[in-house]
Symmetry: C2
Subunit: 481 residues, 2 copies
C-alpha cells in the first residue's frame, strides 16, 4: 500500500493566514466597530460556508447588516446556513450576489420573497431543515468556515456571556471552533467581569462591539386580551380530555393563543379539577409570559428553555419513556408494542385567514414545486399526530385502526369546513362510541362555561401583577406609560 503525502493542517494554516490579514486591526481579540466590513472581507473567502446566527428571536443584526455591505467582488458565492430567514438583509446578501446558496429552517414573513428568489435563480436552496437536523449537520457535512454570532457581554480576554438569550450560540460556536472555522462575535457590551462565562475565550477568534444591541423579538409574548372563548373551550378540552386523560407531565407548548389559554387555565380550571401536581409539571418551553400564573401558583416544577426548537412533532424511534402519558398510547396487544409521544394539534376549523384549516392538498406541495425542492417541507407527518383538538371536539387519532377511520375522525370534528361537511351523524355516533372522537359534552364540559373570566390573567397587566413586577413586557405590549 503506497501512502500519498498529505498536508494535515490545511484548515489550520488557512485559518491562521486569514487571521494574519487583520492582525493590524486587532487588539487582543477585539476589532473596532467601524472596521467590521474590512474584517469580514478579509476573513470570509468566496464559496465559504457561513453560519449567520438568527433564529426566530435573537439576531446577530450588526453582523448581518455588515455582511450586506461587503464588496461582492471580494466576498461572493457564499453558502449561508441560517436557522431563520427573518431580516431584509438576510435576502439582500443574495440580491447583491454575496451569497448564492442557503440551508435554513424557517422563513416566516420572508417566505414569499424567498420563493421568488429561488424561482428567479438568485438563491439556490440546499434544504429546508428541522432545526435539529440543521444544527446536527454543522458537525457532519455542513461544517462552517466562518460563523457570525451575537452575545450579550464579553470581557477583555474575549470570554462571552450569553445570559438569558443564549439560544443556539454555543452550538454554532462549537461547530466552528473545533474544526478550524473562524468565530466572529458581536457583543452588546464589554465589561471587566462577566456575570458568568458561557463561552470560553479560547473558542472565539474575533470580538466586535456592536453599534447597538442585537435585535431581539419577544416572539413568545401572547397578550391574554386576545384570547377568545372558543380558544378557552379548546383549552378546557385539552386539559380534561388529553392532559388529565393521559397524565401528561413533561410537555412543550406551541406559541399560539390556543396553548396560551391552556397555561392560563391551569391555576383556575385545572385547579378545580384537582389536577395540580398531577399534570404539566416539567416543561420544555421557550419564555412564554403566559406561563407566569402557573409558575407563581406552584404548578410548574421546572422549565428548560431550549432555544431554537426541538423537533416537536416527532416521536423518536427506539425511545423508552415509560411515563404514564407515553405508555398510555402503547398497543398492549403487541409484545414489542411501544409507547408514543403525544403530538396534539390544536386548530380552529377556520383559521385567522377565514379559510378552512382542513384541506385536500397541503401548500407544502406548491412550495416544493415552486422552489424545486427534493421533498415537500412537511413539518409534522400524519403518523406522528396523535390528537387533534378543534372547537367541535377531540379526535383521538392514535386509536383509529385505518386511514379511513382516521379521516372520518378528523371530519367529525371538522365543523363546517368542506371536510367537516362530509361527516354523518352515524359516523360521529360510531366514533364517539369507540372513544375515537369526544365532544365537549362527552368530557362533561359545558360550552357556556368557557368564559374569559376563567383565565388566570386576562391582560398583560395581570401577568405583570402575578409576577410581582418582575416581568417587564416588551414595549409594544405596554398599555401604560
Amino acid at each position: 500500500m503506497e501512502k500519498p503525502q498529505r498536508n494535515w493542517d490545511t484548515k489550520r494554516v488557512q485559518k491562521a493566514q486569514r487571521l494574519a490579514k487583520i492582525s493590524q486591526l486587532m487588539t487582543g481579540k477585539y476589532v473596532e466597530t467601524d472596521q467590521i466590513i474590512t474584517v469580514l472581507e478579509a476573513l470570509i473567502a468566496p464559496g465559504d460556508k457561513v453560519v449567520l446566527e438568527g433564529d426566530n428571536q435573537k439576531q446577530a443584526s450588526f453582523l448581518s447588516q455588515s455582511l450586506e455591505q461587503v464588496n461582492p467582488e471580494k466576498v461572493n458565492n457564499l453558502h449561508m446556513i441560517m436557522s431563520s430567514i427573518s431580516r431584509p438583509e438576510h435576502l439582500n446578501i443574495f440580491e447583491r450576489q454575496i451569497a448564492s446558496k442557503i440551508d435554513f429552517s424557517y422563513a416566516g414573513a420572508q417566505s414569499v420573497r424567498v420563493a421568488q428568489m429561488i424561482e428567479d435563480g438568485k438563491m439556490k436552496l440546499g434544504d429546508i431543515h428541522t432545526y435539529l437536523e440543521l444544527y446536527g449537520r454543522l458537525f457532519i457535512d455542513l461544517i462552517p468556515n466562518v460563523v457570525l454570532v451575537a452575545a450579550d457581554k464579553a470581557d477583555k480576554a474575549g470570554n462571552l456571556y450569553t445570559g438569558f438569550n443564549t439560544e443556539e450560540t454555543p452550538t454554532i460556536v462549537e461547530a466552528a471552533a473545533f474544526k478550524d472555522g473562524i468565530v466572529i462575535v458581536q457583543v452588546n457590551e464589554v465589561v471587566d467581569e462577566l456575570p458568568r462565562i458561557d463561552i470560553p475565550a479560547g473558542w472565539v477568534d474575533v470580538v466586535v462591539p456592536a453599534d447597538k444591541p442585537y435585535e431581539l423579538e419577544a416572539l413568545f409574548t401572547r397578550d391574554p386580551q386576545n384570547i377568545t372563548e372558543l380558544q378557552i373551550l379548546m383549552a378546557m378540552m385539552a386539559i380534561k380530555g388529553i392532559y388529565a386523560e393521559h397524565g401528561v407531565q413533561s410537555l412543550n407548548h406551541g406559541i399560539g393563543f390556543n396553548t396560551a389559554a391552556i397555561e392560563l387555565l391551569l391555576p383556575t380550571y385545572g385547579e378545580s379539577l384537582g389536577l395540580k401536581g398531577k399534570i404539566a409539571k416539567n416543561w420544555a418551553l421557550n419564555p412564554h409570559p403566559t406561563i407566569i400564573p402557573a409558575i407563581e401558583s406552584g404548578w410548574v416544577e421546572s422549565i428548560h428553555s431550549f432555544g431554537g426548537a426541538p423537533n416537536m412533532g416527532h416521536n423518536p424511534g427506539g425511545r423508552r419513556h415509560s411515563t404514564p402519558a407515553w405508555q398510555s398510547l402503547r398497543d398492549e396487544e403487541k409484545p414489542l408494542g411501544k409507547g408514543q409521544k403525544l403530538v396534539v394539534q390544536m386548530v380552529e376549523t377556520y383559521g385567522s385567514n377565514k379559510k378552512p384549516v382542513f384541506v385536500e392538498t397541503l401548500d407544502a406541495l406548491a412550495v416544493q414545486e415552486q422552489a424545486s425542492l427534493a421533498n415537500a417541507p412537511v413539518m409534522i407527518y400524519s403518523e406522528d399526530t396523535t390528537h387533534i383538538v378543534t372547537e367541535e371536539g377531540i379526535a383521538y387519532l392514535y386509536k383509529a385502526t385505518s386511514k379511513e377511520q382516521r379521516q372520518a375522525a378528523i371530519a367529525a370534528i371538522g365543523g363546517v369546513t368542506p371536510l367537516g361537511m362530509t361527516s354523518t351523524k352515524e359516523s360521529l355516533d360510531q366514533l364517539r362510541q369507540a372513544g375515537i372522537v369526544k365532544l365537549p359534552e362527552d368530557l362533561g364540559i359545558k360550552r357556556s362555561d368557557a368564559k374569559r373570566s376563567l383565565l388566570a390573567a386576562q391582560t398583560i397587566d395581570d401577568l405583570v401583577e402575578w409576577s410581582d413586577g418582575l416581568y417587564q413586557p416588551p414595549m409594544k405590549f405596554r398599555t401604560w406609560s
Copy 2:
C-alpha cells in the same frame, strides 16, 4: 386570584447550605484527594438524583469508588442516572443500599447481575433509555441534584480541560450547573495553564485531584488480525451493494469486525471501484483505529466523534436530508413521500456464540419480564431497518411491500438458520428479480475474491505504520515491547 407566598430560591439556598458544610475543607474549589468521602457525605443527601459519569469508554472511577465507601446511614436511597453500568462499584452501591433506583442506557458485561438485583428488589429500575433520551431528560424531569464527572486537567481556578475524551461531560455538567445542582469533578492533573478551557470554572463547584487517572477503555479498537474472510465478503457487499448503490456520504459505523472490514477495504476494494470522493466522506464516528488507512489515503473529509451514542437505528421524523442516499429511499409515487436514513444491519447468520442470529422471539422480551419493564428494550425496530447484510447476500428491506415479503427477504439471506431453511428457490428467485434480495453474484462479487490481503491493514502494527507512528495502541493490543 389569591397568590400563595412562595420561596423562590429553595434550590439555591439548599445548594449553598450543602457547600457551606465543607467550606473548611475547601481551598478555592479544591478539596484534598483523601477528603472525598467526607465531601460526598456532606454534599449528597438521601434520595438525591445523582449522575455518575461512566459511558462505555470513560469512567469517573475515582468518584465511583469513593461513592461506594460512603456511610449508607448518611447517604442512601439515591436515584442514580448513568449512561453505562460498567464497573463493579456501580452495582455495589446498590448492594450497600446507598442507591436504590437507576435510569441507564447500557449494562453490557454487568447485565446479568443487574437483572438479578432487580429481581431481588435491590434495585428499582426507572428505564433503559436510548442515550439521547437519557441526556435529554437530565434537563426536563431527571434534573440532577449532584453530578460526579471526570476531566483530564483543571487549572487553579477550576476551569476544566476534557481534551480528547470529552464524551458527555459538558452535557452532564450543564444539566446540574444551570439548575442549582452540585458539580463535583475528579481531575487527573492540576496545571497552571490549560491547553484549552472546555468547561468554565463558573459551572463547577468542587474539584478533586484523583488518586489515579480516570479509567478509559479503548472500546472501539478492533485488531484487524481477527477479521475473517466472511466478514470481508460482507464488507464488499456493503460497499458495492449499499454504499455505492445509494451514494452514502455521511455515515456512522458500529464497532464490530464487520464494519472494521468496511473501513479497511475503502483504500483497496473501494479504490478499485472508483468510489473515492463519492462515498463515505463525512463520518460521525467514535475513535475507531481501523479508520486510519481511510483517513491517511484521503477518503475521509471529516469525523465528528460524538461521545456517548446517538440514536443510530432511528430515522428522525420530519427530517429533510436530501442527500442521494436519503433521497434514494423515497417512494416517488407518494407526493408527501419522504426519504429515509439507511439503517444497515450486518450480521453473520450464526453469531459468535454459534446460535442462529434470526430468532422467533427476541431476548428483550425475557429481559422485560425479568426486570418488570414497562416496555421491551428493543434498540432498533423493524420499521427502521432498511437493509440486512449476511454472508449470503443483502436484503433490501425498504423495498418490501408487505410484512410477509419482508420476512421472506430475511429468510432468503438466512443461510442454514431455522428461518433461512424456510426459504425456497422460487421465493429467492422472485426476490432477486424484484431487486429485494441480491446475492454476491448479483453484485458482481466473487466469493473467492474476499481475501484478507484486501485489508488495507492486516494487523495493529499496520495501523501504527499507516499513522506514521502517531497511533499508540492500548497496551493489550501491542505485540511488541
